[in-house]
Symmetry: C2
Subunit: 230 residues, 2 copies
């Protein structure tokens, strides 16, 4: 992160942080199996031995970096995890949360990439704290009278998060300037809202689908437009 000035001033906390940050950056670039402790130490401007003092093995460093990313994500979306219990009761501001998350994703695409990749590789994504909280929020929202009836919160969580975290990567590749990225962030936010408000299909044009959705879990109606699920 900085040009090595002979010897790092003794400060375990800061050192640990700088190592985690470097690990996060490389994790986003190469994936969990692709980062070497040597690289991380070099990027962090720290001796490899120092890194081993903070994290016993490469494996544990990676894990710590992933958890660190997840925690940052959590804080960006929901604030301090310690006080989360007290705030559970208040009204769910679903649009606001989506906005905060979208903005954060735009500002920290690497972090989101790390988190996504971890979830993609995890045998049990449901154990991730951020995921649990997000999904829980959507469930509470779906149960409220602000939501359209029939929302499947779990599925919607995957769709939302996947889009929110993938979009910035797309955007980064297409906008060189900050201004351009802001425009792209706005486009995403708008389309998210539009989709949430009105969907994408003109409902009148698809009576078959409407029919199918009216009797959930029943065998698919014989409409040419409805995808067969089995």
């Amino acid at each position: 992160m900085e040009t090595r000035a002979r010897r790092r001033p003794r400060d375990p906390e800061a050192t640990r942080e700088v190592i985690l940050e470097a690990a996060g950056t490389l994790l986003a670039k190469d994936g969990p199996e692709g980062v070497s402790l040597s690289e991380v130490a070099h990027l962090a401007g720290v001796n490899r031995g120092t890194a081993y003092q903070h994290f016993e093995t490469r494996e544990k460093l990676i894990q710590a970096a992933v958890d660190w990313a997840s925690d940052k994500l959590f804080r960006a979306a929901f604030g301090d995890p310690a006080t989360i219990g007290e705030r559970r009761i208040e009204e769910v501001d679903i649009a606001g949360m989506t906005g905060r998350l979208t903005q954060f994703a735009m500002d920290n695409p690497e972090l989101c990439r790390v988190w996504l990749m971890q979830v993609l590789s995890s045998a049990d994504p449901a154990r991730d704290p951020f995921w649990r909280e997000y999904c829980g929020s959507l469930e509470r929202f779906a149960a409220s009278d602000l939501a359209v009836p029939g929302v499947d919160a779990e599925v919607l969580s995957v769709i939302n998060l996947a889009g929110i975290f993938l979009w910035p990567i797309w955007a980064r590749a297409h906008a060189e300037t900050d201004r351009g990225r802001t425009v792209l962030a706005r486009r995403f936010a708008d389309e998210c809202l539009r989709l949430s408000m009105y969907g994408s299909l003109r409902a009148e044009a698809y009576p078959g689908i409407a029919e199918r959705l009216r009797r959930p879990r029943a065998p698919a109606a014989a409409s040419s437009a409805s995808p067969a699920a089995d």
Copy 2:
């Protein structure tokens, strides 16, 4: 792939295929930087030297495997790339394509993971043929009178594909049985359709958002519910 039976029958095409398949599997597990040619050769039941005969370097093998995954995806969604030009004219069956893709993703989650990771790491995702075709289809759909007005096809493509490809991973982790997975596939398809038809917010409850969407690209309305994009 199979228990090595002495010596592989001479068949370059099949050998190449088996190597690519093994590479794909490992790619899905470990990411591009995480697979070694030794591992691939071992899993494919092929001599390391043989692998080097088909692919000059590790790097080229990885690239070939990624392209191979992208191509399979393309075929699953759109059929033979060679004949794609002739079929461009016909009506866009957006729901049908989504259904096919969803099913394919459920059956081949590793493939989708490979593709996703590649896109996540690529500097320019727009060069991927599958992406281009998918996005193009949505654009044609958005321009038709089957779509709600104001759809941003590019954003919607990201949202759709991200969801479609991430869901199976979630599902795999949560359903042990084929039956369970079928149910989860159905849940996803239903929620996709529901979201496409009606969105998730009760439009009447969010006049601020409706207002904002009515004048696109203007500075955000001062609604507490609308996410600030800048």
